[in-house]
């Protein structure tokens, strides 16, 4: 590990010299995910999502280019023009103020628009108004929801056919749903507004999460393609090797995917204030991080747990274990057993194995 740093670590993971027992310790990951999911459900039930104006309906005003972003000015103005309103006032970027009130009629809207411009000392054209019926956001998200359900079903079918194992596709879908649940929980916890952009963000999470699982599972498929033709390692061990081998890729990919999102989050969150970019980037940031982690710690172990129930694989696992118990009883060197258990790449039959395949000198 010392020499070559990250690259050396990648090498060790690939050859199986270094191996993290990710699949073997699946109970731990399952309980962690269960814990997070339960917490997310609790947060969603008790705190709920902070629905934006697109879902509640109402009028929204954005004043841009103001010198003084004092919220009291807006509160006073609203109280004057439309008494009895409870406005939500938020700062947008460095020089903008957003005022949200429940629905106003046209006359009041114009009046408030002019009054806000006057109060903040900007041209009326710098005050934008926005009116949204309460059903608008709902109808859009209902369609998005149906689209998503269709997509998940289609993706599940595609994966089942591609991997020729429905259990794999179930594992991917379940893991993906857990990702979205946890991301939604985090979003609710922070309490940012849910806008149509947030919905788009969550759809991206869905896509990314499934994409990442597809890449990891493809490695699992590659490693287990001739599983039953050998008796050295079990499905679980092969899958674990696959996870270890794709670890470097997963880390690189998530960093590369997170960096631009972090860029938006930084620009959107600190320079722009509330707005499309901020909403979308937070859900994405959490979602991509969770999605990449769960491909490794949830999806693959879940896949192993499910597929070990498959008769063919169960029989194979039993055979390998019996054989190994036999070997251990015969007093075979520990290193050979360890090699088998780590599913080392050197032990794939039919591959050239270099000088390591030669008998070693005993001491």
């Amino acid at each position: 590990m010392a020499r070559g740093g990250f690259a050396q670590w990648g090498n060790d993971l690939y050859t199986g010299r270094r191996s993290y027992p990710i699949v073997q310790k699946r109970r731990i990951w399952f309980s962690i995910v269960g814990l997070f999911s339960a917490a997310s459900i609790l947060v969603l039930v008790f705190q709920g999502l902070n629905l934006g104006i697109d879902f509640r309906g109402g009028s929204e005003f954005t004043v841009s280019g103001v010198s003084n972003t004092d919220e009291d000015i807006a509160l006073d103005t609203v109280a004057e023009v439309a008494p009895g309103q409870e406005p939500h006032v938020a700062q947008v970027g460095g020089d903008g103020v957003r005022v949200q009130v429940s629905e106003l009629d046209n006359e009041q809207t114009n009046e408030l628009q002019a009054a806000l411009g006057q109060a903040y000392g900007v041209e009326p054209s710098e005050v934008t108004s926005n009116f949204i019926g309460p059903t608008w956001g709902q109808s859009v998200s209902m369609r998005a929801l149906w689209g998503t359900v269709t997509f998940i079903v289609a993706a599940a079918l595609f994966m089942a056919v591609y991997f020729r194992a429905w259990r794999m596709s179930v594992a991917a879908i379940v893991a993906m749903l857990a990702d979205v649940l946890v991301s939604a929980g985090v979003y609710a916890l922070i309490g940012w507004e849910v806008t149509p952009s947030t919905i788009i963000g969550f759809l991206t999470i869905l896509g990314f999460s499934l994409y990442d699982k597809m890449v990891v599972f493809d490695k699992v498929r590659e490693n287990t393609v001739a599983l039953t033709e050998q008796t050295r390692s079990t499905y679980a061990e092969r899958a674990n090797l696959a996870v270890n081998q794709t670890l470097v890729r997963s880390i690189n990919t998530s960093v590369v995917a997170l960096l631009p999102v972090a860029g938006i989050l930084f620009v959107g969150g600190f320079l722009l204030g509330a707005g499309t970019l901020k909403d979308i980037s937070l859900s994405l940031f959490v979602g991509i991080a969770v999605g990449a982690t769960s491909s490794i710690f949830l999806a693959t172990p879940l896949d192993v747990a499910l597929r070990e129930g498959e008769p063919k694989i169960a029989a194979h696992t039993k055979k390998v274990m019996d054989l190994r118990a036999g070997l251990a009883a015969e007093g075979v060197e520990e290193s050979v057993l360890a090699a088998a258990a780590s599913g080392s790449a050197q032990l794939v039959p039919g591959h050239h194995q270099g000088h390591t395949a030669q008998p070693k000198r005993r001491r």
Binding site: E126, A154, I200, M214, L259, S335, G354
Partner: protein, 604 residues
């Protein structure tokens, strides 16, 4: 190879050609431009969301929606707004996007209900005004077209309306020319149908009064009698070849109308009265949204409620008329669901910040891939640049070809796509490294790594594309724009990997810098711990040993062993000339080392 380059260059050429031949200008707003079109949230403007509602709860058909959009487009265009985007969203919603600011009157005009009426024709004339328009015309009939033209925004006075009502009451039937009061005649004279402002339509014409209006094309103007049959009494309108009286099918295209029982009665009365009259009074006008879509003459009384309109129709014009009539038969009204104004400064600010965010993200990705893949990271960056350029060009092309507009969620989608796209390269490079670790030469590693990476990339991108296509067809609004961007970048990503990254990688595999695994190439054997290949005579080598001057000396090749394997012997395995020792040589060296150690111990 040539084909590949052509395919990549084709969109660029198309865009340049479009830019040269069909340039975007104020007269040609649909022309090509090198910059992609921007959606309202980046450009500034007003977005109005209308929901089509039927008062009797009947279903709104897609054809009716198309007609509704046509009606709204006519209203907006006639209002002098160019570049308005009008699109249906979902089954019953229409989104109108108008750049710049819009006053309340425009919104009210746009959202008026569109109604269809059948009225008898009293007079037809040339579309030009017969008197000077400045001669203070007063729109007498409760007529929007006349009222909106020129300065005659003043409503008809009560006196004039009373006068009209009286004239109509005293008239023998709705076709009586005596109904035309002087004020109506004045409005008719002043009306200029060549002026688009007169053709903006809009509902709200009083069914009991006369109507002075134009036809949709502005080729003639009419005075029409009070409403005889309501459009809602029409049950269906279909286009087809007109059946002859003998039951056969003629060669002429036409539109068949079906009335309900109430409509049948009224229509029979109308046609019985109109048929014997002289032209143009034997015509009845079908008025949709205040404008005349068709004014056929009545040849015979229709008693069974099944009329057909024939004339110089082609198959398409007949279908258009049938669609307009079916739309008019719906009691359709528009409800304003949302109105959204974005100031131009806010829009451009968001665009700037969004692009800034994208640049920061890209720079971070460049730094990271250089860190991870050294010089090879440059290939990632180049591929990203190629993908970015292609995406830009395709978006510019699409905004020319099919009116695609880039919105803020779309830009966010593009920024996120950097991650998805870069992943293809990461998967590919990691597979190559895996192959190198197995001890293959770079050329072979690229070949085999590509085959394995390709399968993974295809499978994973297929899922992405699947989600994009399904979301695009099943959703509306911003989600749809997002799905479009996702699908677009996925396709471009795959194209770039196949046609750019892989061929370049194959070329690089022949360059000594990469082939021999230079320290900074990202493929150097000491970073990858390449499995030694047996070269005979007890010598092993990585893919390069002979060429690069022995970096191995200071970094001895470690024995490949497992986590729990036995302890490593401390004896050197490398001869002084950098060659790997044979077993015999190594044993000798070990013995020597042991002897030295023994001597040292003796000394102490």
């Amino acid at each position: 190879m040539l084909l590949t380059i052509l395919t990549i260059l084709l969109p660029f050429g198309a865009l340049l050609a479009g830019w040269q031949l069909d340039g975007k200008s104020s007269e040609n707003p649909d022309g090509a431009s090198l910059a992609p079109g921007l959606a309202l949230d980046l450009q500034g403007g007003t977005q109005i969301i209308l929901e089509a509602v039927t008062s009797d709860g009947s279903e709104v058909t897609p054809e009716a929606m198309e007609e509704a959009i046509g009606v709204i487009r006519q209203r907006v265009d006639a209002n002098g707004v160019t570049e308005a985007e009008i699109a249906s969203q979902g089954e019953t919603q229409i989104v109108v996007e108008i750049p710049g600011e819009v006053d309340d009157e425009t919104v009210a005009l746009i959202s008026q209900a569109a109604q269809m009426k059948f009225r008898p024709v009293l007079t037809i004339g040339s579309p030009l005004p017969t008197v000077q328009p400045s001669a203070s015309p007063s729109g007498d009939a409760a007529d929007d077209a006349a009222a909106d033209s020129d300065a005659a925004a003043d409503e008809p006075t009560k006196k004039e309306i009373a006068e009209q009502e009286k004239a109509i009451e005293s008239a023998t039937d709705p076709s009586d020319l005596a109904q035309i009061t002087p004020s109506v005649q004045e409005a008719y004279d002043a009306l200029d149908c060549t002026d688009p402002k007169s053709r903006e339509g809009g509902g709200g014409d009083n069914p009991n009064l006369l109507l002075v209006t134009c036809d949709q094309a502005g080729s003639a103007k009419y005075i029409l009698g009070p409403v005889e049959v309501d459009g809602t009494d029409l049950t269906s309108a279909t286009s087809g070849l007109i059946p002859t009286s003998s039951g056969g099918v003629s060669n002429t295209w036409g539109v068949s109308l079906d009335f309900n029982s109430e409509g049948t009665t009224k229509f029979r009365e109308t046609t019985e009265r109109l048929t014997p009259l002289e032209p143009p009074r034997n015509q009845f006008a079908i008025v949709l949204d205040g404008l005349i879509v068709s004014a056929p003459s009545s040849n015979q009384p229709i008693t069974n409620g099944q009329a057909s309109i024939s004339g110089s129709f082609t198959r398409d014009t007949a279908a258009t008329l049938a669609n307009q009539l079916s739309f008019g038969s719906l009691p359709l009204t528009f409800e304003v669901q949302g109105e959204n104004t974005i100031s131009a400064t806010l829009g451009s600010e968001q665009l700037q910040r969004g692009l800034f965010a994208g640049l920061i993200g890209l720079a971070l990705v460049v730094v990271y891939s250089m860190f991870q893949y050294r010089t090879l990271g440059l290939l990632t960056v180049m591929s990203l640049i190629v993908a970015g350029a292609m995406t830009y060009v395709v978006i510019a092309l699409l905004s020319w070809g099919m009116g695609y507009r880039l919105s803020l969620p779309g830009i966010a989608g593009l920024i996120v796509a950097i991650g998805f796209t870069a992943d293809s390269f990461i998967v590919y490079f990691e597979r190559i490294r895996d192959e190198l670790r197995d001890g293959r030469t770079l050329r072979l590693a690229v070949q085999r790594g590509w085959l394995r990476a390709r399968r993974t990339i295809y499978a994973a991108k297929a899922v992405n594309l699947l989600s994009a296509v399904i979301l695009y067809f099943m959703t509306v609004g911003g989600v749809r724009g997002f799905a479009f961007t996702l699908g677009l970048t996925t396709i471009i990503d795959v194209m770039v990997v196949i046609w750019f990254t892989h061929p370049v990688m194959e070329l690089l595999a022949k360059v000594p810098f990469f082939r021999d695994g230079h320290k900074w190439s990202g493929l150097s054997p000491d970073r990858l711990d390449v499995a030694p290949r047996y070269r005979g005579a007890g010598r092993f080598s990585g893919p390069k040993d002979e060429v690069v001057d022995a970096p191995v000396a200071d970094a001895p090749d470690r024995e490949r062993e497992l986590v729990s394997a036995q302890s490593v012997s401390s004896a050197p395995r490398i001869a002084e000339d950098g060659r790997r020792m044979t077993i015999a040589e190594r044993r000798a060296a070990e013995r020597k080392a042991a002897a030295d150690a023994a001597q040292n111990e003796e000394k102490h």
